[in-house]
């Protein structure tokens, strides 16, 4: 297939044709092309529509600064919007489409926006959609939403893999143009461990795009020879296709490497890798970005940056037009004409702004056809190479709040002294604009860094090169036309918008940016920021340095969210932890629920049970009637040992712990230092200097962290040591009147009678003929109950064995739901009650906060507001009409009181259906609740549309005296 604009030469492999699809058309390019160069080679100039006005747009540049040529790449789930065609390495089978148009690209229906552009001027969102207020939600917002945005997401899960990695080096060289290659070579020869990263798939930077000579050979040849030398050195890592997107603390740089983006199929390999690069030193050799000149209708397809034109001609062997005109305000632009003529491309005019010539308007509906000059001449051209000067790529130098300074010599901002520590700059990024001086500067910088790092081997000599002079002039904006002149192509910001913003009082650079959206598009204004600032300066009459710059932040170019997520996506973001009895539960009909990080059995469904309530009611009833078994491994377990362990516990629990005897368990209440209840659990004394603490499932990690804080920071000389054993022991609650009988058949030779092993006893023991275990007589259910722990590796076997032994008692496994029902029946507080606002008084546990000792939180728990008598208290509730079901979250109101916050009396925290009582029960916080047993109040739940009367009662719905658990 013919490529009408393909010319000879360049660094493409014309023996290796690649076919690709653009908007449904099959086209051909060559290996070494970008999508942009292949489109140009095929004569395609119109590639997209602009953001706001839907103006026809073409390829504007040849690099990552591209504002116009944003395309949708690939299809289906792998589709990626807003991909810069200039950065997409062509591959066989590539599929891309244009974006931001309704109907065909050539006949975009939304091009109407261009005709109503006066309505869409700066700040139009703030002005146009203010009234009537009701229109926002119903009309404006949906319309804007459907019209706004460039590409479209597939809304399917990304099928590709992304990885994260760490790298270490002495010197990170950012950019592999003449400066970067020179510096990397010098540092590597001196013995540094060097990483050389470049966003392009072909290293060499502008050397590939220009006709300069280095070391007496063509620049591109020198670049590939130098790359070959570097690649052969063991202390160098070459990272093409890698963008260093941010400079972070302590010499860490973020890099995004596109591993398989240039392949049609990633074949299971990561598409991109997000690198965290730890460097001792870094050298920014990121070069410079060319900018445009503002003149009327400077956005037509065919208007391109001059450097981009040279790039297509010299590197890609593509003629961007048949008749090219050049418009420049600096010496660099003039080389374009020479390069074009050397390739036999007609140059229709060279317009040098420094001589007073200027383009004042362009015409051509879907692409440039002619130019009008300020002397009245009309020039035919299908491509205009514009150079408004070069802006050093200072971005990374500003990632630690540094601000660049204006340099009048090059008409651009250059890095100031306030660089991130360890970072230096060389070459065009530093404002050094000619080749020989770039090479010399980079060579010296690398030598100095190597020397600083103690690498004294010879760095060699810097290569010789051709040199030129660089002169830029301060010509930014060409007036003389009423038509719009674009500054920011991607966000459709014109010189008029900037002037209007200034007139309307938004004059500071950060205000202009936000009011006009200048520089806020995905290209972050790479080609437009300096131009915009120059136009602001002209409008205000200030100098450019006094106008300032906006803040540069990471990322330098867009990084996909998938790369930041890496492998931490879906369930891998937070994998389940499985209990030791998980497999057993799976085989026995369990439904599971996430509790914190854990997956726990919620209930065990039996044949014939229609809904979850059937299973839960049965589990509760059978446990209370005989015996039930529940895996409670997820509760946090902390092993505490040392001569001062008792003293330590006495300081971290609010209730006394010094006198807990060996072989006994005590309930412990833990406060935060501000006096609010933090956590509760039990603590067992297994030996004189050995305790085992349990915590709630949710706080297992943070309680441990706080205990370590107390141990290391508050009382560093207490003899106490901690280790988390949550995963070390599988623990099972065995609850119900037959629990003792069951365990008697499990535990080796141990007297479990109430006298020998009473309520709150604990002991180390052995089970099933020798397996080590720990037995605690504690009860969350309120029944005669035990918890038995075995090393986690026996957990699965233990669950099966307990159930087998329990067969004669009709033992049931029970899940978290039955556990919850029984604790609500018993009035035990859990997560719903401990919500970070709860005081010990609210729980009715005020008496547990000892006044005879100092413990964490005890002092501030005594604040008057937290111990007031008329405050909230945890009490029980039952519906007056026993057939009604209570709702958690309902608020309590006096009968007849209005339903507002002023009359709020508290709220229901937990509710359950009690199979034993045969009706719904609840617990919750109520003002003066402790004094109000027997009263009735309204339980009002507007979210559940419920308003019922409830009776206040003790929170201990079942066995308030605790006779069962002590029996």
């Amino acid at each position: 297939m013919s490529q009408p604009n393909r010319i000879a030469g360049g660094q493409i492999d014309d023996k290796h044709a690649l076919s690709f699809r653009w908007n449904g058309r099959n086209l051909t390019g060559y290996a070494g092309d970008t999508l942009a160069s292949a489109l140009l080679a095929n004569g395609i100039r119109l590639v997209g529509r602009s953001f706001k006005y839907h103006r026809p747009r073409g390829i504007f540049s040849s690099g990552s600064e591209e504002p116009n040529a944003l395309v949708q790449l690939r299809e289906g789930a792998a589709q990626e919007p807003n991909t810069r065609a200039t950065m997409v390495e062509l591959f066989d089978g590539l599929v891309a489409t244009s974006q931001n148009h309704r109907g065909a690209l050539e006949w975009d229906l939304l091009a109407i926006n261009d005709l109503i552009s006066p309505l869409l001027s700066a700040g139009f969102y703030y002005k146009t959609f203010m009234w009537p207020k009701a229109f926002w939600e119903k009309l404006y917002e949906p319309v804007i939403r459907s019209a706004a945005g460039l590409g479209r997401l597939s809304e399917l899960a990304d099928p590709d893999i992304y990885d994260h990695g760490f790298l270490h080096c002495d010197l990170l060289v950012i950019g592999a143009g003449p400066a970067g290659l020179t510096a990397a070579r010098a540092a590597a020869r001196a013995g540094c461990r060097v990483i050389l990263a470049d966003e392009d798939f072909r290293m060499g930077g502008r050397l590939n795009a220009e006709t300069h000579a280095v070391a007496d050979m063509p620049g591109a040849e020198w670049a590939s020879a130098t790359c070959a030398e570097l690649a052969s050195m063991p202390n160098v890592r070459m990272m093409p296709r890698t963008t260093i997107y941010g400079a972070f603390d302590h010499g860490i740089y973020g890099g995004i490497e596109r591993k398989t983006d240039h392949l049609v199929d990633s074949a299971g390999k990561p598409r991109q890798v997000l690198w965290r690069i730890m460097s001792k030193r870094a050298l920014l050799c990121a070069g410079a970005t060319e900018r445009s000149i503002a003149f009327a209708n400077n956005d037509r397809p065919g208007v391109m940056l001059a450097g981009g034109v040279r790039s297509y001609v010299n590197r890609y062997g593509v003629a961007p037009g048949q008749q090219v005109a050049v418009f420049t305000n600096n010496s660099d632009g003039l080389r374009t004409a020479a390069d074009l003529e050397a390739k036999g491309i007609a140059v229709s005019a060279v317009i040098d702004a420094r001589k007073g010539d200027a383009v004042i308007d362009t015409s051509g509906r879907k692409g440039l056809r002619s130019l009008r000059l300020n002397d009245g001449r009309k020039i035919s051209a299908d491509c205009l190479a514009v150079s408004g000067g070069w802006s050093p790529n200072v971005n990374l130098t500003c990632h630690h709040r540094g601000r660049p300074v204006w340099n009048d010599g090059i008409m651009g901002f250059v890095p100031a002294g306030d660089l991130p520590p360890g970072l230096s700059v060389a070459g065009a990024a530093n404002g050094t604009m000619t080749l020989a001086s770039v090479i010399a500067e980079a060579h010296d910088a690398a030598k100095m860094i190597a020397c600083d790092l103690g690498h004294a081997r010879g760095a060699g000599k810097a290569p010789t090169s051709s040199d030129e002079t660089y002169e830029a002039s301060a010509i930014w904006h060409v007036g003389g036309s009423q038509a719009r002149a674009w500054v920011d192509l991607q966000n459709d910001v014109t010189t008029k918008d900037i002037k209007q913003s200034m007139e309307e009082g938004f004059q500071a650079v950060e205000h202009v940016k936000r009011y006009t959206t200048l520089g806020m598009a995905t290209d972050q204004g790479k080609t437009s920021n300096t131009l915009g600032i120059a136009i602001m300066a002209a409008a205000s009459g200030n100098a450019i340095p006094d106008t300032g710059t906006t803040v540069y932040r990471p990322p330098y170019t867009p990084v996909s969210i998938g790369a930041f997520a890496g492998r931490s996506r879906g369930k891998d973001f937070r994998p389940f932890r499985l209990t030791p009895s998980h497999e057993w539960a799976l085989a026995n009909g369990a439904d599971f629920v996430e509790t914190g990080m854990w997956l726990r059995a919620q209930w065990f469904k039996r044949p014939g049970e229609a809904g979850w309530r059937d299973s839960v009611d049965r589990e509760v009833a059978m446990t209370r009637a005989s015996v039930g078994i529940c895996d409670v491994t997820t509760l946090g377990k902390i092993d505490i040992q040392g001569r001062d362990a008792a003293e330590f516990l006495n300081r971290v629990y609010s209730n006394p712990f010094l006198k807990l005897p060996v072989g006994k368990v005590r309930y412990g209440l833990m406060l935060r230092e501000d006096g609010i209840v933090y956590d509760d659990g039990t603590c067992a004394r297994l030996a004189e200097t050995h305790y085992v603490m349990t915590t709630t499932t949710a706080n297992a990690g943070t309680v441990f962290r706080k205990l370590e804080f107390a141990r290391q920071c508050l009382w560093p000389d207490l003899d106490v040591h901690l280790i988390s054993t949550t995963d070390g022991w599988a623990q099972f609650a065995v609850a119900g009147p037959n629990s003792r009988a069951l365990l008697s058949k499990v535990v080796d030779s141990m007297d479990l009678s109430n006298e020998a092993f009473p309520f709150m006893a604990c002991s180390e023991c052995r089970v099933f003929g020798g397996t080590p275990a720990r037995l605690f007589r504690i009860s969350f259910s309120g029944e005669l109950a035990y918890e038995i722990a075995v090393p986690a590796r026996y957990g699965h076997a233990m669950m099966g064995a307990l159930m087998q032994v329990g067969e004669e008692f009709n033992a049931v496994p029970y899940g978290t739901e039955a556990l919850g029902v029984m604790r609500i029946e018993k009035g035990h507080a859990a997560g719903n009650e401990l919500n970070g606002q709860t005081t010990a008084h609210m729980l009715g546990l005020g008496g547990m906060v000892s006044r005879k000792k100092d413990s964490i939180g005890s002092k501030l728990s005594e604040r008057p507001e937290m111990i007031r008598d008329d405050g909230l208290r945890l009490v029980g509730f039952r519906p007056v009409d026993r057939t009604q079901m209570l709702s958690a979250g309902a608020h309590f109101l006096e009968k007849g009181a209005p339903a507002d916050m002023a009359h709020d009396q508290g709220w229901m925290t937990s509710v359950a259906y009690s199979p034993e009582l045969g009706h719904s029960i609840g617990i919750g916080y109520l003002k003066r609740g402790g004094e109000r047993f027997g009263e009735t109040v309204r339980a009002y739940s507007p979210v559940r549309n419920q308003d019922i009367m409830v009776e206040i009662c003790s929170p201990h719905h079942i066995d308030p005296e605790g006779e069962r658990q002590r029996g």
Partner: protein, 94 residues
């Protein structure tokens, strides 16, 4: 960020959990302090533009609490100590 652990060498910040001002070490004795003293310990923090000493916990490592001296403007870390040593130096013991 990289924290130079006194025992383990340079470690990535991702291994740590941050608590805040190292003044948390100077907890007054609840039996002798007045309300204001405990209130100030609990709630009052300096917010300096410059050096701050703060507590970091090596949760994904050796579980040491560290006192890190960090410049809030530049993020430069100038000193890292074991919190236990800092506590002892400020007179804390048992």
């Amino acid at each position: 960020m990289i924290i130079e652990h006194p025992l383990l060498g340079p470690r990535d910040a991702a291994e740590f959990v941050y608590l805040g001002d190292a003044a948390m070490i100077d907890r007054p004795d609840g039996m002798t302090v007045d309300d204001t003293g405990m209130h100030d310990y609990m709630y009052l923090r300096d917010n300096p533009a410059g050096d701050i000493r703060e507590l970091w916990y090596h949760e994904q490592g050796d579980r040491s609490w560290l006192v890190v001296t960090r410049n809030t403007i530049t993020h430069e870390i100038t000193k890292v100590e074991l919190a236990r040593d800092v506590a002892r130096r400020s007179g804390r013991s048992r």
